[in-house]
């Protein structure tokens, strides 16, 4: 009797699948997928051609925001909703709540979340948080959408009763409930909890977005489509439920593994690492069950929906094992921040979740009697997408290993960019089959005969299913014990979620606050209004996608960037910008590292300053040239120049006090005892000791290094006429009319020219610097024939006017030298041509304290002193620092 009633309600529900809403969300999903993929392709192309359509596009970071949010909400959100409209009536035996809610949900999801969200982030209104890029106003509509989805899809399950619910139903219910719980936490908490403590909440959301939203929905599809297509029940419902509870218990506890080696307390990091490994075990159980459930379907199933789902299972296995491995500290040390992680996220979102989503939509589409269905197009789509996504993921994974190795061995940053280039080219090429595959899918949905899908439903398998009798015991109502166990498990699931927020969010917040109070200087150093405005610009342009602001507690970071970031350094950061990827170097201690004019030139035209750079330019922040920065450019540079300032000002006295407070906190001590607070290789320092350079530098190697690193400012031939030359003050030196001693070059390459745009080059090894020095010496074309009589006359003029800055012996150490922002030239180490010396004496050097002398010296005196200055030069061993 009961069975008859059930069957009656099942038949009723069959007619009550709202195909209009399946179709609406299906079309919206694919339209948004194509747009999101377009954003992704443009982003990837700008890795190879950084100026590609730069005048027309909204900016790299903004498109990256649009890409990730589009994939998660626009594509996957709509795809999952389309599938739920098909699956919920079948799983629950009841229709969804109402068409009216459905229309509201469709409207909110697409016209209050996606379209405004994209418009806002592309216009510069965003939140600089991974997987939470839409601004908070849009978040409110996401939550409204999730509430509408809950109102639409949960009541049928509640009315039916959930104690004997099929696993797909459990995943749909769990996904809706837990996403509602975690979304506000991940999107709003970092706005009110600063720095690393806020990052702890971000980490939770980054993982919950995948683990509590995407994965449950995708697994619901896999568990649905496999038995529905093969005609055989899944291998084990027991294992499926074990996996379900395992995932919901453990996923929320993984989040902090996005910030391993950060200042977040080790206890929280270890919890996430352990949970990640346990999760790997659970995933293996889930995948084993899913694979056994496909037995007999063949390695490449005939049904196209099942084929996509089958590949999704494989993607899920690989991405989950990869995820567990990434939490391993030794691997994490190398691959974190690299393209390995980008490959991993593409495997999760474009591989596993997308293939599941496609499988779900195709399964539903096939069962709509009036829907167009072009099986041939779907076959093409499957082949193209499979090839494209594997190619992309393998390529990015290898790229990540290469990048990680180069960073670990201390190679110059630009080497990692150069080494990455072929992989980035391959990544963009892999987008061709991916994009073609998605287009083929869309074509398949809108072409082909109407109802062609229904015809292809495998009747033979369905008959097999009909022949299978429901086991006798299965007709009985679930026992009280089983009902109770599900209730207990449901409560435990919520408890584990609360546990995750408490242990990995609230507790670290408390500990980090305590650490901040103990170690921070008494008075916080807030941003000036200009710096605060600059921070907003930095956030809106997505700078934190490429530049992290956390120096990790690893040897590689310690050596490359300096003292690892302490908790208090982020105590005013709302929201944090720790970042999860490094394409450019970390900027935690960028303050004081470069001159303002270098920043302006670099922002205006990055490749003019750093020829190998792939940073997007921001000419819109300037009035036509780098020397005319608008307010926004000034604000942005003010912000960049403030990074690390608080720690710098507290150093070293502050660190001495903090060392006592740190006690036996090994990691805090590691930061406080770092050999250098700021180890940025380009940071300029006053003249000082520098490692001596070998005399036999390789000129050919040096020339190559010159073109990569120096030509942007000094020009290819060293004539001080590089593309960025006129934007810098003082202008880059014309090296073709200057002789340098090796000692002087050793000093300049090691310390830079403090106060000017000339950086230090400490990331080049001794051999590279020697080669560069040899090539610089090779540039000089100077005839410095001395005129002894003139020199003798000039000595008196020099003593009267020049020695106070340049020193009696030309060493640049006159009594006034210490007061000057840029040290006076040390004539023992450099000798310009006579004409250049005269020119400088007549015109001065813009941007330095060297003034024109024509108002005080006549032509004869100028010529004489120019001759005299040339006598200081000591080519062999000159330039020894005072």
């Amino acid at each position: 009797m009961n069975q008859a009633v059930n069957q009656s309600s099942m038949r009723a529900s069959c007619g009550e699948v709202d195909t209009f809403l399946v179709r609406a969300h299906g079309y919206a999903a694919f339209a948004m997928l194509l747009a999101s993929v377009t954003f992704g392709i443009l982003v990837s192309l700008q890795f190879i051609f950084p100026d590609f359509m730069a005048d027309w596009l909204p900016g790299w970071g903004r498109m990256r925001y649009a890409h990730t949010q589009g994939i998660m909400f626009g594509w996957l959100g709509n795809a999952f909703l389309a599938f739920m409209y098909h699956a919920v009536p079948v799983l629950s035996g009841r229709p969804v709540t109402s068409r009216k809610i459905g229309l509201w949900l469709f409207g909110v999801w697409n016209f209050a979340v996606m379209i405004p969200g994209w418009t806002l982030v592309l216009s510069g209104f965003s939140q600089p948080l991974e997987w939470a890029e839409f601004p908070p106003i849009v978040d409110a509509f996401v939550i409204l959408g999730l509430l509408l989805a809950a109102a639409q899809f949960l009541p049928p399950f509640i009315r039916r009763g959930i104690t004997d619910l099929y696993v797909s139903g459990w995943y749909l219910v769990g996904g809706l409930v837990f996403t509602l719980l975690s979304y506000p936490m991940g999107n709003f908490a970092p706005e009110v909890v600063p720095g690393a403590a806020g990052a702890a909440f971000s980490g939770l959301w980054i993982h919950d977005a995948v683990g509590l939203f995407v994965t449950p929905m995708a697994l619901a599809i896999l568990y649905y489509v496999i038995p529905a297509t093969t005609g055989r029940p899944i291998f084990s419902h027991f294992l499926s439920m074990l996996g379900f509870w395992g995932l919901f218990f453990l996923y929320p506890l993984n989040g902090t593994h996005h910030y391993i080696f950060s200042v977040i307390p080790m206890e929280a990091q270890m919890t996430a690492i352990i949970a990640s490994f346990l999760l790997g075990v659970v995933v293996i159980i889930v995948v084993t069950n899913l694979m056994l459930s496909q037995r007999g379907a063949g390695l490449i199933p005939r049904d196209i929906g099942l084929r996509f789902v089958s590949m999704a299972v494989l993607f899920y296995l690989v991405v989950s094992i990869q995820g567990s491995l990434q939490a391993n500290m030794s691997l994490n040390q190398t691959v974190h921040f690299t393209d390995w992680v980008i490959g991993h996220s593409h495997l999760a979102m474009l591989g596993f979740a997308t293939f599941a989503g496609i499988g779900g939509i195709l399964h539903a589409w096939q069962r709509m009697p009036d829907a167009r269905y072009n099986a041939r197009a779907f076959e093409w789509a499957y082949g193209l997408l499979t090839v494209g996504i594997w190619l992309m993921v393998i390529d990015l994974t290898i790229a990540g290993i290469v990048q990680g190795q180069l960073w670990a061995d201390g190679s110059p940053w630009l080497e990692s960019l150069q080494a990455s280039r072929p992989y980035w080219v391959m990544r963009s090429l892999s987008a061709i089959p991916v994009a073609a595959g998605f287009i083929a899918l869309f074509v398949g949905l809108v072409t082909g005969p109407r109802g062609a899908g229904v015809v292809q439903i495998n009747a033979e398998q369905q008959e097999q299913a009909a022949a299978q009798l429901l086991p006798e015991a299965a007709h009985a109502a679930p026992s009280r014990g089983l009902k109770m166990s599900y209730v207990v498990a449901s409560v435990a699931g919520v408890v584990f979620f609360v546990l995750s927020v408490s242990l990995l969010g609230l507790l670290p917040r408390q500990m980090l606050e305590e650490q901040s109070v103990a170690m921070a200087p008494g008075a916080p150093l807030p941003y000036t209004p200009a710096e605060a405005r600059g921070r907003e610009i930095y956030a809106r342009e997505g700078c934190s996608y490429c530049h992290s602001q956390q120096i990790r507690y690893t040897e590689a970071d310690l050596e490359r960037f300096g003292a690892p970031t302490l908790a208090w350094e982020g105590r005013l950061e709302y929201p944090h910008m720790l970042g999860t990827r490094r394409i450019g170097p970390d900027l935690s201690r960028a303050g004081g590292t470069r001159s303002a004019d270098w920043h302006y030139a670099h922002l205006f035209a990055p490749r003019a300053v750093v020829p190998q750079s792939i940073m997007p330019g921001y000419p819109q922040l300037f009035d036509g040239t780098a020397t005319r920065p608008r307010q926004e450019a000034r604000d942005l540079v003010a912000y960049i120049d403030s990074l690390g300032r608080a720690r710098e000002l507290a150093y070293p006295e502050g660190d001495i006090a903090a060392r006592a407070a740190a006690g036996d906190d090994d990691w805090a001590q590691m930061s406080l005892n770092a050999p250098q607070l700021n180890a940025h290789p380009g940071r300029t320092r006053p003249r000082g000791e520098a490692p001596a350079l070998a005399a036999n530098g390789d000129v050919a190697q040096g020339t190559a290094l010159w073109l990569e690193n120096c030509a942007g400012c000094h020009g290819d031939l060293g004539q001080g006429d590089g593309p960025a030359a006129t934007w810098l003050e003082p202008m880059p030196k014309n090296l073709s009319i200057r002789e340098y001693s090796r000692t002087m070059l050793a000093d300049i390459l090691w310390n830079g020219v403090h106060g000017s745009a000339m950086p230090a080059w400490r990331d080049l090894d001794d051999g590279q610097r020697a080669a560069l020095a040899a090539s610089v010496q090779n540039l000089a074309r100077v005839d410095n024939t001395a005129n002894a009589a003139q020199a003798a006359l000039g000595a008196a003029v020099y003593a009267r006017h020049c020695a106070e800055c340049h020193g009696d012996n030309g060493a640049g150490n006159g009594f006034a030298a210490a007061q000057l922002p840029i040290a006076p030239t040390d004539f023992r180490g450099v000798r310009a041509s006579l004409d250049e010396r005269v020119r400088i004496l007549r015109n001065g050097v813009a941007g330095t304290s060297m003034a024109p002398w024509t108002d005080r010296l006549d032509d004869n005196e100028i010529t004489a002193v120019a001759h005299y200055i040339g006598t200081f030069f000591q080519p062999d061993n000159g330039g020894a620092r005072p």
């Binding site: 029940p233 419902h237 069962r367 109802g451 439903i457 299965a474």
Partner: protein
């Protein structure tokens, strides 16, 4: 310590679940019941859809 709680909590929950499954044949059948019910639901649904498709084709 927190990691210990997570490890042991998860293992104990899993062990209890597996233990109950091993010790109670009736529970085993009940736990597997939803997959059979689902199979019937899907089969009914597909049958209905095939019939609807045939009607659609015959009308056109």
């Amino acid at each position: 310590m927190i990691a210990d709680i997570v490890v042991w909590g998860s293992l104990i929950c899993a062990a209890l679940y597996c233990g109950a499954w091993l010790l109670s044949p009736r529970l085993r059948e009940q736990i597997e019941q939803p997959k059979h019910q689902f199979q019937q639901q899907v089969q009914h649904f597909d049958t209905a859809r095939r019939e609807a498709g045939q009607q659609e084709r015959s009308q056109s």
